[in-house]
Assembly symmetry: C2
Homo-oligomer: 152 residues x 2
C-alpha cells in the first residue's frame, strides 16, 4: 500500500458559508451591488448616490435646510457643504434666505434641477428593477420592509 503524501493546504473552492450567516456581510454586499450599478448608470448625470438623495429630498421638500438634510440622510454637515455648493454652481439648486431663521438657508430645486431629477428618477426606477430582477414583486416589498426595520 502506497503512502499518500501529506496533502498540501490549497483551496479549491472558497467557502464563504460562515460570512453568509452574518446580516452585516449580506447587507453590505447587496448594497454595494445596487450602488455600483447606480453609480455607473448615473455617471452621465454626474450624480453620486448621496447627491441623488440630496436633490430628491430637496425636490420633495422645498425649503429644506442643510441641517434637516443631514439628519434625514445621516451625513455630517461639513461633508454636505461641498455637495451643495457644487450643485448650486451647476444651477441644479438655489439657496434662499430662511423666512424665520436668518442663520439658516432654504434649499430649492431650479427648473434645470427639476428636469434633471425627472430624468434621474426614471433611470433610478429602471436600474432598481434590473438590480432586483431575481426578486418577485412581493419579495421586493418584503425586502424593503425588513431593511427598514433595521435602520428606521
Amino acid at each position: 500500500m502506497p503512502v499518500l503524501p501529506e496533502p498540501a493546504a490549497t483551496v479549491e473552492k472558497v467557502d464563504t458559508s460562515y460570512l453568509e450567516t452574518l446580516m452585516g456581510y449580506n447587507a453590505r454586499r447587496a448594497a454595494l451591488r445596487v450602488i455600483d450599478l447606480f453609480s455607473r448608470r448615473m455617471a452621465v448625470y454626474e450624480l453620486r448616490p448621496v447627491d441623488f438623495s440630496v436633490l430628491s429630498l430637496i425636490g420633495h421638500n422645498p425649503g429644506i435646510t442643510s441641517r434637516q438634510l443631514c439628519s434625514a440622510l445621516n451625513i455630517l454637515p461639513p461633508n454636505l457643504v461641498g455637495k451643495i455648493s457644487s450643485m448650486e454652481k451647476r444651477a441644479l439648486l438655489a439657496r434662499k434666505p430662511h423666512p424665520q431663521d436668518r442663520r439658516a438657508v432654504g434649499l430649492h430645486l431650479t427648473e434645470l434641477g427639476i428636469e434633471l431629477m425627472s430624468d434621474a428618477e426614471r433611470i433610478a426606477l429602471d436600474l432598481e428593477s434590473e438590480a432586483t430582477s431575481r426578486l418577485s414583486a412581493a419579495e421586493k416589498k418584503t425586502l424593503m420592509r425588513l431593511l427598514q426595520k433595521i435602520y428606521l
Copy 2:
C-alpha cells in the same frame, strides 16, 4: 376678510417616502447601520469589517491566496496588500509558500489569530442579534435569503 400672507416655504417634517421606495437607499441605510455597530464593537480588536471578513475566510479556508480573497470579497489586490502585511505584523496570520504555484502565497491563521477570531465571531453574533432585534427569526432568515438573491 384678512389677506393671509403668502406662506413661507419651510419644512416641518422631512418627507423621505420617495427614497424609501428605492432598494439602493434602503440597502445602503441598513448596511451602514449594521456596519457602524460592527465597527464600534470591534474597535477593541482593531478589526474593521473587511479585516474581519479576510481573517474569517482565511480561518475557514487555510491556504487561501490573496487572489482568491479578492475575488470572494470583491476587493482589489492593491487594497488587500496593506491589510495582509499589517495583520502579519500583528502576528494574526502567516504567509506560507504555495505548494503548486511559486508566484502565489498561502495564507493561514496563527494561534493568536485563531484565538482572536474566536472572540470576534462571538462578538459578531451578539452585535448581529442586537442590530436585528426588531426582526423575528423567520424574518432574519428571509432577509438574508433575499439579500443574497441580489448580490450572489
